[in-house]
């Protein structure tokens, strides 16, 4: 179960805006899915290691050798707003 307050908290963490109606719908939809997910809480999992990487690969490191970077025009080509050769954003403090 997840309630309205939790939905709003999670939406804020995820930087998602939700309308009033969406908050309630999200709460009920997520609750239904979470109910199903909670079936795994019945499993005996003590001492079972978690799997975060399903295939063992060695360190797979990269040599410290420079390769060409993107030309600036290409780096900025898709930016919604550009100023002073950079990506413009509303000030975080504002």
């Amino acid at each position: 179960m997840i309630d309205r307050a939790e939905v709003l908290h999670v939406a804020r963490l995820a930087r998602l805006e939700l309308s009033e109606g969406e908050v309630d719908r999200m709460a009920s939809e997520l609750s239904a899915v979470l109910d199903h997910i909670e079936t795994i809480s019945e499993l005996e999992l003590d001492g079972v290691a978690p799997t975060s990487h399903v295939v063992e690969v060695g360190s797979a490191l990269r040599a410290d050798e420079p390769r060409p970077s993107l030309p600036r025009e290409e780096a900025l080509a898709s930016a919604p707003a550009v100023a002073a050769d950079g990506f413009e954003v509303p000030s975080p403090g504002a």
Binding site: A81, E88, V89, P90
Partner: protein, 474 residues
């Protein structure tokens, strides 16, 4: 009852690898904005990080240099939060399985050392008129993705001054490990401090605050001092210290809370699925160990214990490895001269004349300085004259004995020559001689002054005094 500050430091060190932590963009300082980016460090859809082998190696070097335990297997996590300088919406950092744990530098224990990537640079540009006249900022991703090592100490530091001193030791250690430029002003060394206070003698820790943005050694000291004073004032007024993050403004010396901005401190760490665990092999560790120089803390300890140098001299020589190396070269050739004397000549006289330059690159050969020191010891030349000789050596190089000869700087020895000069001086100052004979010891001055004038300062003042007294029979 007095208060005891308890201080732990968190230091971010930018590594001077050639390329970024997770992509092949070249590291740059001061290049035009956004000229060192690629799909990976811009966080473009579909791009993937691949860890830089040199960054891992540098991390191990730091771990070994700080006496840490190196993890045979460590993993990267994602630290999730939104900020415009963070292109992927998460920082790739190490969390519960860091590269190194434990360790010690000087008298401060190291808690852990881990790797992560740096954020980009966010520059405030003021009102642009574009967003309803609101202020705007501009992101430059050149710095984004620079490899960082984060060093976290145990709360072992007990004063702001010690924090500063220890940080200088850490900087010298990083410099000598050749892993970073460690320049606080340029941001390649950044320090946050966790500060709490408690009644002297108590063992429980007080509530701590985190101090950010102290971008010079001086500010570290001032910031911590200010925070300790603030906490003590609060506690003495019976008010609690609130756990929070504070921003130190060096201009005004004031501390402001960043609490509102970081209200949701939920980073949702989870193992980074795009990277595989870092497996450190014994061969990697041995290769790094072989590159390890003697570090300042070790070198200073060795100078103090084995050579009986003063703590100041030991640090002066140890913090500049080139001075230390040169000192050892001179000492080896100085044929029994006291180590402290050699240290004074190298760390004092020579270092003053050379400034930041490496003495090994100067015109003063270690042999030459060793001979000069020996000549002073044998009283073949006075200390004052030796300084003049050193000036000549710094300017032109050469052999000190030859310079003494050519300049006539030789000490007028204990032999007949000096005895003659003393005799002449007594004859020239009969009144003074009479007074000295009569028991007025301080009346000797004019006689000695006469000798020094006649010998142009090349006589040893002690020897002259002895001869005057001998001839006057006192």
């Amino acid at each position: 009852m007095s208060w005891e500050p308890v201080i732990g430091l968190e230091i971010h060190v930018q590594l001077k690898t050639q390329t970024k932590m997770f992509c092949s963009c070249e590291l740059s300082f001061g290049d035009p904005p956004n000229t060192h980016t690629c799909p990976v460090c811009l966080g473009l859809p579909g791009s993937l990080p691949v860890a830089n082998e040199a960054a891992i190696r540098f991390g191990l070097k730091i771990g070994l240099g700080l006496g840490c335990e190196l993890a045979p297997r460590s993993i990267f996590h994602r630290k999730n939060y939104f900020y415009p300088d963070l292109p992927k919406g998460y920082q790739i950092s190490q969390y519960d399985e860091p590269l190194c744990r434990g360790g010690r530098l000087g008298d401060v224990r190291i808690h852990r050392v881990h790797l992560e990537d740096d954020a980009a640079k966010l520059v405030h540009v003021g009102a642009s008129g574009r967003i309803h006249g609101a202020d705007s900022s501009v992101v430059d991703f050149n710095r984004g993705g620079t490899p960082l090592v984060e060093i976290v100490t145990e709360p072992d530091i007990r004063s702001a001054e010690r924090a500063r001193e220890w940080l200088i030791l850490l900087r010298e250690t990083m410099r000598q490990l050749e892993v970073s430029d460690v320049n606080m002003e340029e941001g390649s060394l950044r320090c946050d401090a966790n500060v709490s206070v408690r009644r002297a003698g108590e063992s429980e820790l007080g509530t701590k605050t985190e101090l950010k943005n102290m971008n010079s050694f001086r500010f570290v000291e001032r910031g911590i001092k200010a925070e300790v004073a603030r906490q003590v004032a609060l506690l003495e007024a019976g008010q609690p210290v609130v756990q929070e993050t504070l921003h130190f403004d060096p201009q005004s010396g004031s501390l402001t809370s960043l609490r509102s901005k970081e209200e949701a401190h939920d980073y949702r760490y989870f193992p980074e699925p795009d990277l595989v665990p870092v497996a450190v092999t014994p061969e990697m560790v041995e290769a790094v160990r072989a590159e390890l120089p003697e570090l300042p803390a070790e070198r200073a300890a060795r100078y103090e214990t084995e050579l009986a140098l003063s703590a100041d001299s030991a640090r002066a020589l140890a913090f500049r490895p080139e001075l230390g190396r040169y000192f050892e070269a001179v000492l080896e050739r100085a044929d029994g001269a006291p180590a402290q004397t050699v240290a004074n000549w190298v760390a004092g006289e020579l270092a003053t004349r050379l400034g930041d330059a490496d003495p090994a690159q100067s015109k003063v050969a270690p042999d030459a300085l060793a001979r000069l020191v020996a000549m002073v010891g044998e009283k073949a030349v006075t200390a004052g004259a030796a300084r003049q000789v050193l000036d000549r050596l710094v300017a032109d190089g050469g052999d000190p004995a030859a310079i003494v000869e050519a300049e006539g700087l030789g000490a007028v020895g204990g032999g007949d020559e000096l005895a003659g000069a003393v005799r002449a001086a007594i004859e020239a100052n009969p009144d003074a001689a009479e007074k000295v004979r009569g028991g007025k010891a301080q009346a000797i001055g004019p006689i000695i002054g006469h000798v020094m004038r006649e010998t142009r300062g090349a006589a040893d003042a002690g020897e002259v005094t002895r001869l005057v007294r001998e001839q006057l029979g006192v």
